[in-house]
């Protein structure tokens, strides 16, 4: 069945507000299992396309899917549902935190503790993503990954510059490999 722009708004709003620890697992459950708007194959198709474009992956899935079934109003419905209300929610939390929460020592400490865990999550994400890629083609992946890490994380070079240099090198290496 084809959702209307209003249904797309509600569907992506619900999905967005469930996305603790990333929207991806929830997106599949909500769009494929619960609402039956698409099959699993269609979802994987949209996701791989959504990952090619910049921006949030699931946001892009919403824009692509909404646009495909209902044109511009469908894309706008999905995107607004995914972003607008959740932005108000997080804005409210932020206003409370910086309004008076950050003056309270325990709350400031708790936020610091969560930030440390968030940093650990980034480390784990990088390691887990790196292991299979590095194992498959160490001579290519390791220097590029370490180069990007050092240039941006240690030297503090602008990311667009690093992307402009490393992305073409890395892609041409991959094209030659296979």
């Amino acid at each position: 069945m084809t959702p209307t722009p209003r249904e797309l708004f509600v569907g992506f709003l619900v999905l967005s507000l469930k996305s603790i620890g990333g929207a991806l697992p929830w997106a599949r459950r909500e769009l494929v299992d619960r609402r039956r708007w698409m099959t699993n194959t269609e979802f994987v198709d949209l996701l791989s396309l959504g990952q090619i474009f910049p921006g949030g992956n699931i946001l892009n899935v919403g824009v692509l899917f909404g646009g495909r079934v209902r044109g511009a109003p469908g894309a706008a419905g999905a995107a607004l549902g995914f972003i607008a209300v959740p932005a108000l929610v997080i804005g409210g939390i932020g206003a409370l935190y910086w309004g008076f929460g950050s003056d309270l020592t325990p709350l400031r400490g708790a936020t610091l503790g969560m930030a440390v865990v968030a940093a650990a999550l980034l480390i784990a994400t990088a390691v887990r993503l790196a292991l299979p890629v590095v194992r498959r083609r160490p001579a290519h992946a390791l220097p590029i990954a370490l180069g990007a890490l050092a240039a941006v994380g240690l030297v503090g070079l602008p990311m667009p510059l690093v992307l402009a240099v490393l992305a073409p090198i890395s892609v041409s290496l991959a094209l030659r490999d296979s």
Partner: protein
Amino acid sequence: MNDLARLAEMAGIFGPIGLITIGGVQTVLPELHRQLVVQRGWLTDADFTAAFAIAQAAPVPNILMVTLLGLRIAGAAGALVATVATVLPTCLLCYWGGRLWHSARDTSWRPRVEAGLAPVTIGLIGAAALVVSRASAATPASLALLAVAAAILIRTRLHPLWLFAAGALLGGAGVLG
């Protein structure tokens, strides 16, 4: 600087950054930090890491971290500008690009281009880890938490929310300070 000029400058920062997110908002964390904290001094390290932590732990998409950054820099108007400037160009690009892409969907070079970008993405996430670690873990206790949490997340399938709760408890009790 007057308010409108700052909002315009913010749009000029967040817009391009939105367009270079490859594989999620994590990859542009170092660039956001460089532009907003290091270069302009609009935010402190504490503001930046708090925004990241809150956006991670709250039930919203990670990309809405930019809403918090904008809010802290310039209030509600800043939150609006940062969010729209980051999200709208990527949505338009995806909408129009998605239609064009349909005709080129079965090209064999696509997976290889994605494979080629993967090491860059991984390096950038590593850089993000470095930037956020340096900005948040300054004491021996917080470095220990960082190491233990990273080891648990790499080796087990424990849901990160449990660790966020543990981090909040430890930090709230003043153990990390």
